[in-house]
Amino acid sequence: MIDVRDLALDAPDGRRLAEGLSLAVSRGGSLLVNGPSGSGRSALLRALAGMERPARGRVRVGGREVWPGGGVLALAGQVRLGFAFASGGLLSNLSLRENIALPLRFLELAGADLERRTEGALARLGLRAAAGLRPHAVSASARKQANLARVLALEPELIFLDDPLEGLDAADRAVALELIQGWSADRSCTLLIAAEEPQAFSGLEAERLLLSPSSLALESP
């Protein structure tokens, strides 16, 4: 599903991140990217999803050339992606419900199907009460959950989760973790997670990639 060759990313401070990274994630596979803050976990996820141009290297997703190429727009209509952002990523002029429904409406889903998937995702993440509020009116934790709910409703074949558990309380963490384990077990869904603390995902069947500001290592589960 994902094929990366000789990647290098530019950090805002001019450092090179993930220098020389090559990896492949098969369809239905899972990859957990660990590393300390500043090691380029989020940047790597963003580059693989086509949102950030790497300094060097080739990225192919679902057989499509993302880099060098048109980035995420090259995947439009070809690979259904879901991305849960570590922060932000929700449209500030839409309610949480509208944020979750928007990608579905763009997929031309309407009526009962649209409502079922939107309301189902809101209920699963415990966001029913806040569904009518805009992102600025809810807690950071609810925004994080709404990111996950959007991914859940979209039913994507490739999922990127950027620090999905950070800042969640125990109850929300359990709900999110259960959801992530479900995606990991789903053979039709490829999952990439970036997280600082790998312990939280100790039960997850996934390949692990350890990033550090200067080196990286790929481990098998």
């Binding site: 805002p12 949102m51 995420v72 991305f83 990523g89 449209l91 763009f106 031309e108 979209l154």
Partner: protein
């Protein structure tokens, strides 16, 4: 060599800017043709919002400005030309000054001040908050969801605002003409109608089309270039205003030369 490079840098920057504008326009048009029926509702919703902010909310401002401008134009004309039979040239004055030139131009200036600044700031904030990336990664084409509705919304709004501007300016002119020379409404409108030609309508429509593109795509260009910090937003807004104003005045001169020179 360094000196030559420094000399050529502004030219290169300008050409890059023109290239980016052409890229934005062509990509938006191409993506517009790829819109599917079920997506039209989402895009139409965004377009309606843009029409509300750019057109509806500016209606009183534009009409009030035009009413005063129409009245002042004829007051000044009468004060200078009263001995030369100015009342016979009311139509010519109104068509030449207001309908041909100031109507589209001043409306565009007001829309730049109100809406192109808002578009640049909004897109900049969306860019910083990761909203543009979030749209793209979830299969929502930013050209279709952000740029196209803004362009169509500004185009429709500008057209409506120019119609209101011209109507209000003619009304303001008529009030002065009636009070000063007791000109009847029929005489006034006949005078305007005799001077107006199809060429004026064509020139105005072309100006509206060009100005709407300038207003929208200058704002999108500077707004979407914001990458790192909130302090870039006011800079982008300022650049949008200056750049769009220069472009609108330059295009206005070009079109005037094309149609009337």
């Amino acid at each position: 060599m360094t000196y030559l490079a420094r000399l050529g840098a502004p030219v290169r920057g300008f050409l890059e800017f023109l290239g980016d504008q052409a890229h934005l326009v062509l990509r938006t048009l191409r993506r517009a043709l790829r819109l599917r029926l079920g997506q039209l509702g989402v895009v139409a919703g965004q377009t309606k919002l843009q029409i509300r902010f750019t057109g509806l909310d500016a209606l009183w401002l534009v009409s009030g400005t035009a009413l005063l401008l129409g009245a002042v134009t004829l007051i000044q004309a009468f004060s200078q030309l009263s001995g030369l039979g100015a009342e016979h040239y009311i139509g010519v004055l109104m068509v030449l000054i207001i309908l041909r030139e100031l109507g589209p131009l001043l409306t565009a200036v007001l829309v730049i001040g109100r809406s192109s600044t808002a578009i640049a700031a909004e897109l900049g904030a969306m860019q910083l908050n990761g909203e543009v990336d979030a749209l793209a990664v979830h299969g929502i084409d930013p050209y279709q969801y952000l740029l196209l509705p803004r362009w169509v919304g500004v185009l429709i709004s500008l057209f409506v605002l120019v119609v209101f501007f011209d109507t209000a300016a003619l009304a303001g002119g008529f009030l002065v003409a009636k009070l000063k020379y007791a000109v009847t409404f029929g005489f006034y409108m006949d005078s305007v109608r005799q001077t107006l030609s199809n060429r004026d309508f064509a020139a105005t429509l072309l100006k509206i089309l060009c100005f709407s593109g300038v207003i929208t795509f200058h704002a999108c260009h500077f707004g979407l270039r914001i990458r790192r910090s909130q302090t870039e937003i006011p800079q982008a807004v300022t650049k949008t205003v200056v750049s769009a104003l220069v472009a609108v005045f330059a295009l206005d001169g070009l079109l005037a030369a094309l149609f009337y020179f």
